[in-house]
């Protein structure tokens, strides 16, 4: 039952891999430009180690993402308003969306890697389900909003990594402008 603490070298390697991967993804323009070999090499680790730890490419990216998003997740799960659970729905939904957008802006490379990564849709990732459930329940608390389940999906779609990348990266829209536009849009949906 007691899973016997992680070996010291294992831990060191895990962190090295995570760090290297983060660096590489941030440096590359498109996630596809970073191969698992690259990551292993940059981390000074064999491929076997890499795969043993993270299972597959997707696992690595998810681990990376999880680490980065943890603070936000916590703020949402048990923090104060306007993100925490005690916030009135009307105020919380826009706040959640704004936070998500900001996160994706700040972590474009990772979000992109996660969402456009393998052939498997982002909709199966636990990540997505978590946000969807959260948002859906929040939307439910707003009278007059249409079907909460679908609305949550549609709202999340509006901040998908590649769209954000297209708007902020491809076209040169500054973050604030995007935030404004999203805010207005969300307001309209919840009106």
């Amino acid at each position: 039952m007691s899973p016997r603490r992680e070996r010291a070298d294992a831990q060191r390697n895990r962190e090295a891999v995570l760090a290297a991967a983060d660096r590489l993804f941030a440096a590359s323009t498109s996630p596809g430009g970073v191969s698992m070999d690259d990551v292993a090499t940059a981390a000074g680790v064999g491929k076997g180690t890499l795969f043993r730890r993270f299972g597959d490419r997707d696992g690595l990216i998810q681990a990376l993402m999880e680490k980065r998003i943890a603070p936000l997740r916590e703020a949402v799960a048990e923090g104060p308003a306007p993100l925490g659970p005690d916030t009135p729905a009307r105020e919380r939904v826009p706040a959640l969306m704004a936070a998500l957008l900001r996160f994706k802006l700040d972590n474009r490379h990772l979000a992109l890697a996660l969402e456009t990564g393998g052939g498997n849709s982002p909709y199966r990732a636990g990540h997505y389900t978590w946000w969807h459930t959260l948002l859906r329940d929040a939307v439910r608390g707003i009278p007059g909003a249409p079907d909460a389940d679908f609305t949550a999906h549609a709202l999340l779609a509006a901040v998908r990594a590649d769209l954000v990348e297209h708007l902020a990266g491809g076209e040169g829209a500054p973050p604030e402008r995007l935030e404004e536009r999203l805010e207005a849009y969300v307001a309209k949906v919840l009106a």
Copy 2:
């Protein structure tokens, strides 16, 4: 200047490839399950021919898509209301969205292949740009709607192939239900 008509065998082969590819994509659950080799073999054609004609995987998929969507495109560009250009914006936007959703439902495999295909985002495909411009201009005609450019992006995001697939395929939502939900959502956005 006159590009000298396409050779007869070439045409025959092109059609064979298109047909085979369509069939294969329709049959496979995920687009990744269909390799270029598969297509070539199924079409009774060499790989060289395949690539000569369509350039690369993406080219093939785009050609396929183009063929399928042509009627809808035409109906929108020069047909009668509620899709054609003479439709009042208030009525046209929902109609466009409904038509797009239905199209994606009817061509799930293709839409999926196109949007989740290569590492390149769907946002660079001429396909997307066309719809976005169209929708943006239509939204502009509706007083009270927020920023038309962003709204168009957000609305299109709500009918992205993988989301549609997730809702209609993964969960078992019947098409009509989806259409209703989308309609209500769009109405809200344009209210």
